[in-house]
Amino acid sequence: MDACRQFAEVERWIDGEAAEAAGIERHVAGCAACAKHAAFLRQTRTAVAAVATRHHISDAQFPAFMEGLRVEIERPQRSWRGLWALGSLVSAALVAAIALYSLVKPAPVPVEAKTEVELFSTQIEGATTKVDYSDDGVATIWINVPEGDMW
């Protein structure tokens, strides 16, 4: 783009701040670069003004506006990404639940369990055996060998 030393003055003229407005206007009419620059500045002002335009919602429209917001906020988001996230969440919860269970589950040995003698025998002829259980749960298998003779 061609440049002109009068660009700054042209910008002030577009903004309505030029001291010699009539002189700048004549210059722009005869200078292609300044005319192009002035056109660009006017387009920019128009665009900025359009963005800055505020739409006003009347009191009558306000309930419908809020209902529209609510509907959009509460609309379920169906997407594969959401399903994967949900699956990961369920898996994490499952692992956490199992870990917690394994930590807090009671020990398998019951408090009331007692030692129980199921079978007992001897190859010593004439010997007799018996089983006793003490009050504190100690089991004793006792063999009586006749006169201490095992052979």
Partner: protein
């Protein structure tokens, strides 16, 4: 987390520490029990851990002969020599859901190259609880073997 990783993690967390394949610690203390006429029970130093199991027996003097422990898998056996004549063999058979361990225990006696089962027993033992096998002649007293399985 991959499905395989999740599966491995769940399997690790839900693994039962008392599963049947876990080794079992078997312990024994062999004691010579005699009556010396002390009027009070005397326990040789080193018998503190099994004293409670011996207190109900009709002897006043308890002398340590041998002791030991070994961890073995279910189905295997541990052999403990007691003295020149007696030996103890223990074999964990299975673990029950209540935490007890079924153990076969045999005291064999050997003389002049001949061996026989002086006492052959099977019992469901509570881990940490004591039990006695006794009555076999030993010197001027009798042999008492205190058994336990590890918690």
């Amino acid at each position: 987390m991959s499905l395989m990783g999740l599966t491995v993690l769940i399997a690790a967390l839900t693994a039962d520490p008392n599963q049947a394949s876990a080794p079992v610690t078997l312990s024994y203390t062999a004691v010579q029990a005699t009556n010396e006429g002390h009027g009070e029970r005397r326990f040789e130093r080193g018998l503190e851990k099994v004293q409670k199991a011996l207190e109900g027996l009709d002897f006043d003097t308890f002398t340590r002969v041998a002791s030991g422990s070994e961890s073995v898998d279910i189905g295997d056996e541990a052999r403990f020599p007691i003295d020149d004549h007696y030996a103890l063999t223990m074999s964990p058979i299975s673990k029950s859901e209540d935490g007890r361990v079924r153990v076969r225990s045999r005291i064999t006696v050997t003389r002049d190259g001949k061996s026989r089962d002086a006492l052959d027993t099977t019992q469901a033992m509570v881990p940490g609880k004591l039990m006695n096998l006794g009555g076999l002649p030993m010197g001027k007293g009798e042999l008492v073997v205190v058994l336990s399985v590890g918690k």
